[in-house]
């Protein structure tokens, strides 16, 4: 219940903040009202700028703000609403020029005035952000490099926009209105300092080291970490942390991984890491004793959040890691609730956690259904994809009362989600982990 209250609280505060500039602009003295299109365009510019500012709060990983929704959802929201903000900001100069074509002069970076140049710089930075974020892979921009540019361009966009407002702003015509806008912009840039300087500085005291690296089937490794001179980390099963494999915590090279181990063990934690990108290949070569920093726990994909009489876990490939955390935690807690595990994998050879799951079956009310995409002739189990027919065959009789957790490749999650709804499972009982945190 407190989670609901705090969720509603942050949304309410968000709405106030988002529409605050419109209110602030109406506090006297206000300039004489101009035509509808000019005032509309100015308002679009202001609400767009406020949205820009809000992005810095969204990405700052404040646990108190993100906990009610889950940081994955917050980042998904960040990607979408930032596009809305960019559209609003782009509409601002376009409407102004159409309304009074003489303003075309202002779009020339070598003409115009300082206010228009600052505005142009902000718009250019925003367009660059949009293009590099939407087409990062097509542009062959590496993740770390993209991250750095994202940061630099984001700060450029908000600072330039603020300069534009201060210089051009008919609506910032008093000292205190100026102060409110500039103060907000400074605060937002300060959040970047918090995320990239202060937070890493704090992580320095919470070092971890690699205790062990175990190779598992399916090009996957279990990375086991131990705390160095601290008690460890308290997390909920299914959550994740950003992991930095570096001598110093001041690096942009960090990647999110789900905990794969029991939440009851704070001082020996495990991550499942599949060799896919540069970073995961580097991890595969890491030596015991290597230094690691963690930012976490984050995420809302957890059995502890949703009271249920029983569960159905549906994992595909490396998407099984949070399920392993669920199962290990339930085993450690002697949790008697029934679990059906649907485990999808490319082939039987690639089943990473086959053995571990078999061990856990002895400690839990666990039924496992392996679903290899391809299997030899003599395999008498399920095969292919998890579809409505398979669910209909395998889901237990109390299916309507169970809680569903799905994690895997995006296409699989979409298909399973639709198939579950087709089986009459309520949307509110299906939790998805969309692991797209870039």
């Amino acid at each position: 219940m407190t989670r609901t209250i705090s969720g509603v609280f942050w949304i309410a505060l968000y709405l106030v903040v988002v529409l605050a500039p419109v209110g602030l602009m109406l506090v006297p003295p206000v300039p004489s009202g101009r035509g509808f299109w000019i005032e509309f365009s100015v308002a679009l510019g202001f609400v767009g700028l406020t949205q820009l500012a809000v992005q810095f709060v969204l990405i700052a990983r404040f646990k108190r703000v993100t906990a009610p929704y889950g940081i994955d959802v917050i980042l998904q929201y960040h990607r979408s609403i930032a596009m809305v903000a960019i559209a609003a900001i782009l509409a601002h100069p376009l409407i102004l020029v159409v309304d009074y074509p003489a303003r075309l002069e202002l779009l020339n970076p070598f003409g115009g005035n300082w206010a228009s140049r600052a505005g142009l710089l902000s718009v250019a930075a925003l367009l660059a952000i949009a293009v590099t974020s939407l087409y990062r892979e097509r542009l062959r921009l590496g993740y770390e490099r993209w991250r750095m540019w994202h940061l630099v361009l984001g700060v450029t966009a908000i600072v330039a926009a603020q300069v534009h407002v201060s210089l051009a702003g008919l609506y910032t015509n008093t000292f205190w209105k100026h102060a409110v806008w500039i103060g907000t912009a400074v605060l937002m840039v300060g959040l970047i300092v918090y995320l990239r300087v202060l937070k890493p500085a704090r992580q320095q005291a919470y070092r971890w080291q690699v205790a062990e690296l175990r190779a598992l089937p399916g090009d996957t490794h279990t990375l086991v970490l131990e705390p160095v001179n601290h008690a460890g980390i308290r997390f909920a099963p299914g959550q994740f942390a950003w992991l930095k494999l570096a001598r110093s915590p001041f690096t942009l090279d960090e990647h999110p991984f789900s905990f794969a181990s029991s939440a009851e063990r704070r001082d020996r934690i495990e991550f499942g890491i599949k060799e896919a990108g540069d970073f995961s290949r580097r991890i595969a070569a890491v030596q015991p004793g290597a230094r690691v920093f963690l930012d976490g726990p984050h995420g809302a994909f957890s059995i502890d959040r949703y009271p249920a009489v029983g569960f159905v876990f549906i994992g595909g490939g490396i998407g099984m890691t949070p399920m392993m955390s669920f199962l290990h935690t339930m085993a450690d807690r002697n949790d008697p609730r029934p679990v059906l595990l649907l485990y999808a994998e490319k082939s039987l050879d690639a089943v990473t956690y086959g053995e571990v799951v078999r061990d856990l079956e002895g400690r839990l009310a666990l039924e496992t259904v392996l679903v290899p995409e391809e299997a030899p002739e003599d395999w008498d189990g399920e095969r292919g994809f998890i579809d409505a027919a398979l669910l209909d065959r395998r889901l237990p009789d109390d299916r309507a009362r169970r809680s569903y957790f799905v994690c895997g490749p995006p296409a699989m999650m979409d298909a399973v989600h639709d198939a579950l709804l087709e089986q009459g499972i309520a949307e509110s009982q299906v939790q998805l982990e969309r692991f797209n945190l870039a």
Binding site: S32, V47, G48, Y77, Y100, L167
Partner: protein, 174 residues
Amino acid sequence: MRHVIAHTAVYVIATLLVGGAAAFGTVRSRQLVIVDEAMLLSRHEPATAHEFEWGDLGAYGYARNCANCHSPDGTGWDQYPPLRPIAVTFPAEAARAYLIDLHLYGLSSARWRAPMPRMHHVTDAELAAILNHVVVRFGGADAAGDRLFQPADIAARRGQGIGPRDVDRRRPAP
């Protein structure tokens, strides 16, 4: 479930933002926000020539519509011309018309890299008061002179259907 809610939130917030901006545009363009008594009077009780009290209204109108670019004391900066030298040219008939027109229709010229926006939304009374404020307080014109601008002077020059470049062509030689 959470993702569905987040998607919905994007559409709701986007609608609120555009709706809020449109509401703001409507409120402002219809002059629904009453800002002070002087404004109200200037809109609803047009004064006759001899009793036009422009003093406070001029200072206030200049502060909220002009000062941000031309600076509070009219010194100008960047692409915003200083108003003192312009103010002294005003007594000639052509210069008076030019000063009014550049406010009503804007001004775009090769002399500056940024255009003067149209200020045609400012009422006759407020615009006359602002012009008087500029020519008297910045240009040193006689504060009691009978050549000061009257609201009727502004009204007479509205509706010419000209653009910012036309205004520049009509600019009297300095």
